[in-house]
């Protein structure tokens, strides 16, 4: 099959890629564009480690043909990480030990970003719902939920001040 050219916006920058039809967004991000924060825990839509935002919505990049994001806005974890320091969500994950091995973490941070964009002060149920497609084998989820609650508090200004920010 002939390769096709696909254009989309990646973390605020226009990109053009030459791909085999039906190549997944995940493989293009990882292998062609060097965005390896997008993980590949299963490539079956079962673990959430590859979650990216497409037009602000969390999507499993392993199930998404890259042609489907033509002309759309794709954000990976690389896109929300400041050059210096951390995003408040990342900071909350770090402080709460909301990770152990770190393999599910990019996906967790991305669904948290989407959640808090839509619902700045989610209750515990909404948090559980948001991460229910993301698998973590290490932490037992409690520290992740703690991290998301902390991030929500910080971002909505109701939480403790870190002093550094």
């Amino acid at each position: 099959m002939a390769s096709v050219i696909v254009n989309f916006e990646l973390c605020g920058r226009d990109v053009e890629v030459l791909v085999q039809p039906m190549a997944t967004l995940q493989s293009v991000l990882r292998n062609q564009l060097g965005h390896t924060a997008t993980k590949e825990g299963c490539r079956q839509g079962g673990c959430g480690s590859c979650t990216v935002l497409v037009d602000g919505e969390p999507m499993l990049s392993c199930l998404l043909p890259v042609e489907d994001v033509a002309g759309r806005r794709v954000t990976t974890l690389e896109g929300i990480t400041p050059i210096d320091g951390l995003d408040p969500i990342q900071e909350a994950f770090l402080e709460s030990n909301g990770f152990q091995c770190g393999y599910c973490t990019p996906g967790m941070v991305m669904v948290t970003r989407a959640l808090l964009d839509h619902d700045p002060q989610p209750g515990r149920e909404a948090i559980v719902e948001a991460i229910s497609g993301n698998l973590c084998r290490c932490t037992g989820y409690q520290p992740i939920i703690d991290a998301i609650e902390k991030a929500a508090d910080r971002l909505s200004g109701s939480g403790e001040q870190t002093g550094e920010r």
């Binding site: 825990g41 990480t81 951390l86 770090l94 030990n97 990770f99 091995c101 393999y103 973590c136 084998r137």
Partner: protein, 448 residues
């Protein structure tokens, strides 16, 4: 230890945490090298079969196919991962030779320019297999007429002349005879998967100086290097292993499965080779925690002292032993539990079946021992008519006790731990239980 500590004991922030929360941490599977090839495995579709032939013709014509590796390409094809610590015999095939002993056993490695080409070529390898009867149950496998998985005529791993790892302490039959109650049960567990979020994998890269750098997510870097050197019959100095960052292990990344064949492929092609398990390979082919069947028989006095414990355990090792014999030794050392029992007899069997090989998993040999004996303790409590806390305090081991494996207990704290748990959940202990300590007993009367 009265010394004042400044750093130990503090919840210092993870030094690799920023890498993890930003996704900058590099995992082995994130690495891409110019000219990198992809390795995929042709696996047995049957649980047990004789290999009559392998036809690579059609696979070789797939665009992007680079080469295939069979057992003839592997310098030391029959190995045992624990040979480094003296475990024998060598029995596992890196690539199957004339027989496959479990569904998913690797037969031919295919290396291609792309993952898609490798998968297509794998699908086009023709296997001519003659299906053989298979065995899947630990006790059936030990019957004389069972299908034989190994090359030595039965399905038993031998522990220095015995078909089981034995512990013999005191006289269990005499203990049973003196007991008021006999409590017997059989405990089972099915195999489970470590299921780390990152699948097992590596990339092997030929270097300009004739060496090979292998980027891997193994839990044991030198163990992987040393086994790879044995399998490939190359001096260790030609291998350079880099890792240390593992996306979850839980025992699943202690086997040396991907590195030898990826390195061999890099040697044969002169190009970097990536071999990373798919999720279904991780679930179906990578080692499991073995299935266990544990027969437990206890003799108990009417006041709740366990006088004798007899344990017969079978671990389903699957087609190869991998780390299971070592797990059984650990199991045998722990099957009496944190209790003082004067008469103990343990037989722990490592049994071969036509199942996916089992190996290490978190709790290695102890998890299922703890499950069986802690459910058994509740059974005993019920039979004797005391509560579950009391039965454990009555039998808890103390420092100075000789355990069934003969070692004198030195850092027993079961009693203190149970006291802390009771206080934590608000369970009221008796004054006697509150006053107990793990300090050595005043006399041997305590252990009868």
């Amino acid at each position: 230890m009265p010394e004042e500590l400044n750093v130990v004991g503090r919840s210092v922030v993870r030094s690799d945490g920023v890498g993890h929360v930003t996704g900058r941490t590099r995992f082995a599977g994130d690495l891409v090298f110019p000219g990198m090839l992809h390795l995929k495995m042709v696996r047995s579709p049957l649980h047990h079969a004789r290999i009559r032939g392998v036809d690579l013709g059609e696979a070789e014509r797939v665009p992007g196919f680079v080469r295939a590796l069979t057992w003839r390409d592997v310098p030391h094809n029959v190995y045992t991962i624990l040979s480094l610590i003296g475990v024998e015999p060598e029995e596992e095939f890196v690539l199957a030779q004339d027989r496959v002993r479990y569904k998913g056993e690797p037969i031919v490695a295919v290396v291609a320019e792309s993952e898609a080409a490798a998968l297509e070529a794998v699908a086009k390898v023709r296997l001519d297999l003659e299906e053989l009867p298979a065995v899947f149950d630990v006790e059936e496998a030990l019957r004389p007429d069972a299908p034989v998985v190994t090359d030595w005529g039965n399905n038993t791993f031998m522990f220095e002349g015995h078909p089981s790892r034995r512990v013999r302490f005191g006289d269990v039959e005499a203990g049973f005879a003196r007991s008021d109650h006999i409590v017997e049960a059989v405990y089972n567990s099915s195999p489970i998967e470590q299921a780390p979020t990152e699948t097992t994998g590596c990339v092997a890269v030929p270097e300009a100086n004739g060496r090979y750098t292998v980027y891997t997510n193994t839990q044991a870097l030198y163990f992987s290097l040393d086994n790879t050197a044995i399998i490939l019959q190359v001096p260790g100095k030609r291998l350079h292993f880099v890792g240390g960052t593992v996306g979850g292990g839980f025992g699943g990344k202690v086997d040396v499965i991907v590195e030898p064949i990826a390195t061999l492929a890099a040697m044969k092609t002169g190009r970097p080779v990536r071999y990373v398990f798919s999720r279904s390979e991780e679930m179906q082919v990578s080692s499991t925690r073995s299935a266990w069947r544990i027969y437990m028989k206890d003799g108990v006095t009417r006041d709740g002292h366990i006088l004798a414990r007899k344990v017969t355990s079978y671990a389903d090792s699957g087609a190869y032993s991998r780390q299971t014999p070592y797990a059984l030794t650990k199991h045998a050392a722990n099957a009496a539990g944190p209790y003082a029992i004067p008469n103990v007899s343990i037989d722990a069997y490592c049994v071969y079946t036509n199942r996916t090989p089992a190996s290490a998993m978190r709790g290695f040999g102890v998890t299922m021992a703890s499950f069986a004996l802690e459910v058994q303790m509740d059974r005993i409590a019920e039979r004797v008519g005391v509560d579950p806390w009391t039965i454990r305090f009555i039998n808890a081991y103390h420092n100075g006790d000789r355990k069934p494996h003969r070692k004198i207990a030195e850092d027993a704290t079961l009693i203190e731990t149970m006291q802390a748990a009771a206080a934590f959940v608000g369970h009221e202990l008796t004054d006697e239980q509150k006053a107990m300590t793990s300090a050595p007993r005043a006399s041997l009367e305590g252990v009868r």
